[in-house]
Structures are given as C-alpha cells and as structure tokens.
C-alpha cells in the first residue's frame, strides 16, 4: 500500500477509535440521584420570584419546569441570586418597598443581558440547562401582568460524565469520517486475505 494511503488509513482508524470512545461516553446515563424540588407557589402582580439558585458545573444538568395559570417570563440567569439582589438594592434603594419588582429585574437584565442563558414568555416552561463553565445559575419567574399568577415549579439537578448531546454529535461525525479514511486499509486487508494460499505445502491441515 502507498505510504500516504497507509498514513491516511491509520489516521482513519484512530479517528474511528476516538469516535467510538465518544459514543461510549454519550451512552453513559446521567445520575438520577441529584437534588430536586417540586412545589406550588404564587407570584404577585409585577413581581418576580427566584425559586432556584446554585453553583453549577458542566458535569451537571438542571431540568426546570414551570407551569402557570397566566403567561409569565421565565429566565435562566448565569449570576447568583445575591448578585441580582445586591445590584437592585444598590441601584434602587427606597424607590419601591420590595426589591423583587419587575421594573428592577428589567433594569438589571438591560444592564446584564449577557447573563441570560435562556428566557421564554410562556404558561408551560420546560428547559434542560447545561452550563459550559463553572457558573452560578438562577431561575427567575417574573409576572409582568396586573394580577397574581399561580405557578407550579419543578427543578432537578442530575450529574453527568459529559454533555451527552455534544459528545454524541461528535461521535456521529467522527465514526463515519474515520471509517471512510480507513477504507484503503480495509481494502488492503481484504486483498491480503484473498491472496493468502488456501492449498499447498505450507497450509496447515
């Protein structure tokens, strides 16, 4: 076999082996023994509520579900709850009695728009959050309407070895690419087997 073809084939088999490792990793299920909570709550008109705040790593997945009897704004922020509260207190002391007024939240989000990992206006929120770095994660449920919202909140933290979807995507690409690159090696292997003598003095009986 040509030297360059041999090199390409070898690279192909290596890429395939890495792809298989990724595939194996993506098949490892996430741990179901993480923290979780589920409860009913109410959010007053023009107020926001923070039902979840924690430090998270890329090896953790947070699943958030929020159902409400009216449309609410749900945000997943990459800041701590205390950072949000401290910012509001330092900027709006004395204007409103409550620090969890929607106006304050909107002002904060205007200044820290990069901290929004995900947001949605809905009556049924269901989102799986996987951070890409070690970060604070805070779930905010904001009720911009003029009447109280009854909400049902659920969150669950699960541990994982690696972000399964990202690793599976890599496996999906690397295995076929590796196999295609390794085709010359497969052909060479087949030809060598085909050339192998099937009769004669050297063939073991």
């Amino acid at each position: 076999m040509n030297r360059w073809l041999a090199l390409i084939s070898r690279i192909g088999t290596i890429i395939t082996s890495i792809g298989l490792a990724f595939l194996l990793i993506s098949l490892i299920p996430s741990s179901s023994s993480g923290n979780s909570a589920q409860y009913n709550d109410q959010v007053q008109a023009n107020m926001f509520h923070s039902p979840f705040a924690s430090i998270m790593t890329p090896q953790q997945v947070a699943t958030f579900t929020v159902t409400s009897d009216r449309t609410v704004d749900v945000y997943v922020l990459e800041v701590s709850n205390s950072f949000l509260t401290n910012w509001i207190v330092s900027h709006y002391t004395g204007k409103y009695f409550y620090t969890n007024n929607v106006t304050y939240l909107k002002s904060f989000l205007g200044n820290f728009s990069q901290s929004i990992a995900y947001s949605q206006s809905t009556t049924a929120f269901d989102y799986r959050y996987t951070p890409t770095k070690v970060t604070n994660a805070t779930l905010i449920v904001s009720n911009p309407s003029s009447s109280e919202a009854l909400i049902q909140i659920g969150w669950k933290i699960t541990q994982q070895v690696a972000p399964a979807s990202r690793v599976a995507t890599l496996a999906d690409w690397s295995i076929p690419i590796g196999l295609v690159l390794a085709i010359p090696w497969f052909i060479d292997l087949y030809q060598r087997r085909a050339r192998k003598p099937t009769s004669g003095a050297n063939v073991p009986v």
Partner: protein, 250 residues
C-alpha cells in the same frame, strides 16, 4: 495506538472533575481551568509514561541488542538523525495524541473554561509532562549505556514512582516544618508542585497551606520553574544525543 487514543478520549471525560470544595473561596477562572486539567491527568499520564518508557527502553534497547542500530550506522545518515527518528516514534507519536485528545475532550466538556484559558490548560500539560520526559531522558541514557532495555525500563519505573513518593514526603515536611527549600528544589524537577501551589493560593488565599504559607509563588515563578525543568530535560536528552553520536560503540 488506536487503543491508547480510545483510552485517552474516555479518560478526558471519566477523570475530569470540578473540585467543588474550591468554589466557595472565590476561585479564579484560571484556577478552575488548572484544576480541571489536573484532575484528568492522573491515569492518562500514567499510560503515557508506561508507553514512553516501553518505547524507549524496549524499542531502542532491542534495536541495540539485535544489531539493528549497527545496521543503521552503516547507512549514510548522521547518527543524530537516527536517534531523532527513534525518539519521534517513541515519544512524539505518544505526546501528540495525549495533548491533542485530552485538550479537545476538555473543550467539548467545558468550552467556556478551556477556550478563554487555553494558555493555562497548556501550561498545566507542560508542568505535568516535564517529570515524565525527564524520566524518559534518564531511561534513554541508561539504555544507551547498558545497551539493553529491560534493566533501563525497570529503573525508569522505579525512578518515576520514587519521585512521586519523594514529592509526598517533601510536601509533608514543608507543611510540618515550614521549610520549603526541599519543595522548591523538587519543583525544578516537577513544576506541577509549584503550579498546584500557585493556583491553590489563587483560589483559597495564602492560608490554604497553613504553616507553609511563607512561600506563595507568583505566576512568574511558575513559568521560571517550568522553564528550568525543561532546561534539565533538554540537557539530559542532549547528553543522550552526544553519547549516541560520539561515544556509542557497537
């Protein structure tokens, strides 16, 4: 090779861990990148060391014993190129997938940790690889001197484990007696010691080490010790080259 690449790829995810105990102390992002990279180096680094020592001791040792190197000497090729080719296949081919696959795996796992702090990730690899490369250099020298691989391989493995035990002993002495001289000397062979110390103090403050807080290295110290350790590695390999080129009689 394929098996090792498979193991490196698995190891990048299985062994990676975010040391949660450091979060509460206002850990810097550099420290997170350092500790994340360090967390996965244990087992893959051990595989790398064994692979390296086997390739150098048995690969070169067997070629010396069987007279293959003697045949190479009859070719119109300079001796140093013969040794370079041997070392490239023994060390280089193992080193590239080791760093490449583990860094890529880390990037897939935590892109916002590795991407902006790639320099720290590579520095962590550099500080961790210096000691195995030094042991590889010693094994190369012993293989050339003895002209056989088995004893050099045993010596290499013993040296590697002895250095690991010595690091623990010196660290304990430093913690108990506040005498960091041994730690500083050993950091020239294993710069991972000083790097670990620097990034730990970055995340936990100078009191993290209790009595030994008298030595709080700077980032410049980490770079200087790393450069120093690689200077020692280069000297060992140069001695090997000199012996192979001028003194080796077969």
């Amino acid at each position: 090779m394929e098996v090792f690449c498979f193991l490196y790829a698995i190891g990048a995810f299985i062994f990676a861990g975010f040391s949660s105990s450091l979060f509460g102390f206002g850990t810097s992002e550099d420290s997170v990148a350092y500790f994340l990279t360090s967390s996965l180096l244990g087992f893959p680094l051990f595989i790398f060391v064994i692979l390296n020592l086997k390739n150098v001791a048995f690969g070169l040792g067997n070629d010396l014993e069987k007279g293959i190197v003697q045949t190479f000497f009859s070719y119109p090729i300079k001796r140093r190129w013969i040794l370079s080719a041997k070392l490239l296949s023994a060390v280089g081919v193992g080193l590239i997938p080791f760093v490449g696959i583990l860094t890529s795996g880390l990037y897939v796992l935590a892109p916002d940790v590795v991407g902006p702090h790639l320099g720290i990730v590579l520095l962590t690899f550099a500080t961790s690889l210096s000691e195995p490369l030094l042991v590889t250099g010693i094994v190369l020298l012993v293989t050339l001197l003895l002209k056989r691989g088995a004893l050099a391989l045993v010596l290499g493995i013993v040296t590697y484990f002895a250095l690991a035990i010595l690091q623990q002993i010196v660290s304990v002495i430093a913690a108990f007696t506040n005498n960091v001289a041994g730690l500083q000397v050993l950091s020239l062979i294993s710069p991972n010691l000083i790097a670990s110390r620097y990034f730990s103090t970055q995340s936990a403050g100078p009191f993290f080490f209790g009595q030994t807080s008298s030595w709080t290295p700077t980032f410049g110290d980490v770079l200087a010790y790393t450069a120093g350790s690689y200077a020692i590695v280069i000297i060992i390999f140069l001695l090997g080259y000199l012996y192979f080129s001028r003194r080796l009689n077969l």
